[in-house]
Subunit: 152 residues, 2 copies
DNA sequence: CCCTAATGGTTGCTATGTTAAGTATTATCG
DNA sequence: CGATAATACTTAACATAGCAACCATTAGGG
């Protein structure tokens, strides 16, 4: 007998709760719950929200930089920016110094959308801080940031 | 002037590196890199991989339980299981006690597939442990597990 | 300079994400 | 017992994910 459970688990993968990719995903599901509720109010997707946040943070940048910052693939971004531009949330222009590049920036309308969610966002954050603990939260963010920089 | 940068960031969102959802996503991208390479060898998707891992861990379970464990939506799962069943990786049967439920289990072929990746998987894990630190890794997993249980 | 390679995006295709509506089965309550 | 609600999926429709192929532009080496 190689196993003491009733379903014959294969020899020796770590339990999924100790699998980093799965653990990251599950934790994220918890955190995203209230944020999804918030975003539904304005009919914007989670991905579009990330794009706006990154643009707000970094200013006018090229698409590759958005892709990196918002964890999106360039093909997805190409399609999303098309609709976001049509919705007036962002603006695009060709970089004249290097005509391969497209520079993207957030518009006032896009900025207004973000700002409209600031109170809700702050409320979610403080509830998280309260229930998870400020110390835990800081520690987690530090670890995640360190992990992100690792070269595998 | 409300800001000291050159691109007029909106008043007061935390930098995206300190946004938990984004930080979780970025960290996950780092970790998934080598795993994606591994999975490409067998032509299986990341999601199918999670399903197999969960089934291997939990035995024969209903689809809702897979959805929860693998962080998938039921509609996605419905479609995925159809192809996975056709590929012989999983098997389904109706629960006779409650005919609404479908019970799913991993097949020998499915089990063989994940076992085939055990060495690679272990190598990735140990490289991660080496570069990120065993202590950091444990601490991170503990924090993530605690976060997952929080009710927001 | 010119040819070739590299870079930045786009397009096409298939799979999955996400919401809403639909179906079959079971549970609940009057 | 019967109407209704709840549960466990399934289907449909559209957006995004992920890979590969392609295009335009720029960089580099002979």
């Amino acid at each position: 007998m190689t196993d003491d459970t009733d379903h014959a688990q294969s020899a020796r993968f770590a339990p999924t709760a100790r699998s980093l990719p799965i653990a990251l995903l599950r934790a994220r599901e918890t955190v995203m719950g209230p944020i999804r509720v918030m975003l539904q109010q304005s009919g914007i997707s989670e991905q579009q929200w990330r794009v706006l946040r990154v643009l707000d943070e970094l200013g006018e940048i090229e698409q590759s930089a958005i892709a990196t910052g918002a964890c999106l693939q360039l093909p997805s971004l190409t399609r999303m920016l098309r609709t976001m531009e049509a919705d007036g949330l962002i603006a695009r222009r060709t970089d004249e110094a290097d005509r391969r590049r497209t520079l993207v920036r957030i518009t006032d309308k896009g900025r207004a959308l973000i700002l409209a969610h600031l109170p809700d966002s702050a409320a979610i954050f403080s509830r998280l801080e309260e229930r998870f603990g400020a110390r835990n939260l800081k520690q987690l963010l530090d670890l995640l940031d360190e992990l992100r920089r690792i070269d595998l």
